[in-house]
Symmetry: C2
Subunit: 321 residues, 2 copies
């Protein structure tokens, strides 16, 4: 049994290498650049943890982990173009450092490279893994499309937001665990519980992310809070606030969304507090965590084996940065 | 044995359907739109022809053909963004009709869908097919990157241009044939000759395409010739002209490249004719066709079985549109 940190090191040992040939450098240099700017490598390690929950780690889990990390980077490179994000992990995004056309192709070759790693899996479970991988890949694209659609809509319901967030971020966490479990020889029932564990952890993580962006401690959070508020981003907090605010608060909130006032963040936060959005967010996060742990509990292996997953969940949930 | 036209009909019978679920419509409606604006379906039919050169067509060849056509459409959708092309097959491109962000995701889901079809192949040759498919997919991306790079360079050599064109267009034609042949149970040697046949036909086709854009009959060609010349596109013709022109012609040509004169096309064509570029292009096309047919000849099956491939090559090479 290995800890999350041990598995990160173990994964990086294989992953910190060149993933592409040298030529054409105009395509592959930007690809290597992005793969080398770091990242927490959570998803590939989830593949390894999913495997080790049931069995010793098989070589195939490393092939899977490589594929999942390449897929994740493919989606980041393309998302950054769409969101016009200039920074990722504190470094220039591919389309900013190079150009959008190169970034499109960089994402494309990373996706193909992901499939090359999947192809190395020798396990008889390959077809099951590919089915889940492909479904998840399409869901991640759907989530990104919905995120863009919602940013243009006046009103987004909580159900719509949860659906979008689930597709955009949770399903890949969930599928990473389940694909690892498939390699570990897990039963269908255990696989499904592990998937639901990952999915709910993912949603809880997003609630926390939205919470920290509004109420986080600047020193611990690493950046000034209020970014989402400034951008009128539809978050768990804003969507819930618009649902529970009284008519006066709702009007004030809607007026604030239409301006770029200097005290916008401060005023929106004041309304959030009046509506007890901070407490609600804490409770909402706890609700998803509870669901996640119920599914983990239902997995038929000894408690000892579940420890690294609990450790990971705690690591993700107590993060202040 | 089937003719090219029969196989187009047979392929379209299965392909003319919805490829994606209904929701989210903002992603999948644009995807279906693009898959429904037509196309000659040459690549998927090459898969079927490659199979039938050696054996009765296996169901797997249809899965492969679907994958190849989806891959081709993925690359077109992304290329159209990069080239800022407003029309494809006479219809609005995805990024023009919708927007670039949607077009990025439309390409992405088409590529994933291509892999879903590959996964349906039951043949024991699947891993060989996937290896060739993945290599080809990366080469096509490399070709597009080189095409963009070359458009910004002052000078491109003939070897560089042939390398770029081979990656951008020929390898997919070649691989479609070879992957079909693998399903048909062809030997490695036969596979390689068929690949080279496809590759050389692809280059010959590009020579012809460049020729027709300069010297084609407007009525037969379906559009006013000279588009490449107006855009200073580095083509077989321009690259060769710059190689063989005398100093006076070369200077005149270089001056013409720097202006947008009304009589630019006419003047460039006059220099092309002085340099006998039209004759050279015909000979160059014939050279690649000869190579292609030598490889076809070397394939160890009866002449009778090769007829549909010869028919296809003639169809591609006598096209005036």
């Amino acid at each position: 049994m290995h800890s999350f940190q041990e598995l990160v090191l173990s994964f990086n040992k294989g992953f910190d290498t060149n993933h592409f040939p040298v030529s054409p450098a105009s395509l592959y240099e930007p690809s290597e650049y992005f793969l080398n700017i770091g990242g927490k490598r959570i998803r590939p390690v989830l593949c390894l943890l999913g495997n080790e929950l049931f069995n010793d780690i098989h070589e195939d889990a490393y092939h899977l982990a490589h594929a999942v990390e390449l897929f994740h980077n493919f989606s980041l490179v393309h998302d950054d173009i769409m969101d016009d994000a200039s920074l990722r992990r504190g470094k220039a995004t591919v389309h900013t450092k190079y150009d959008s056309n190169t970034a499109i192709l960089v994402g494309d070759v990373m996706l193909v490279r992901a499939y090359e790693h999947l192809q190395k899996i020798k396990s008889s479970h390959l077809s099951k893994i590919l089915e889940l991988f492909n479904t998840t890949a399409k869901e991640v694209c759907e989530g990104q499309q919905l995120d863009m659609d919602y940013s243009k809509m006046d009103k987004v319901t909580m159900d719509e937001y949860i659906h979008m967030i689930t597709l955009k971020t949770s399903v890949l966490l969930a599928a990473s665990l389940e694909m690892g479990a498939i390699i570990g020889g897990a039963s269908t029932s255990n696989c499904k519980h592990l998937y639901e564990f990952g999915k709910n952890i993912g949603i809880a993580f997003q609630v926390q992310d939205d919470y920290l962006d509004a109420f986080g401690d600047a020193a611990l959070f690493g950046k000034e809070p209020g970014g989402d508020i400034k951008q009128n981003k539809k978050t768990f907090l804003l969507i819930h606030a618009l649902e529970v605010a009284n008519p006066t608060q709702k009007l004030a909130l809607e007026n604030l969304l239409n301006v770029d006032a200097e005290d916008k963040v401060e005023k929106v936060l004041a309304i959030f507090k009046e509506c007890e959005i901070d407490t609600w967010a804490e409770n909402n996060k706890a609700k998803y965590l509870k669901k996640a742990f119920e599914h983990l509990e239902a997995i038929a292996v000894t408690s000892e084996r579940k420890k690294p997953l609990i450790e990971l969940a705690n690591y993700l949930m107590n993060r202040n940065q």
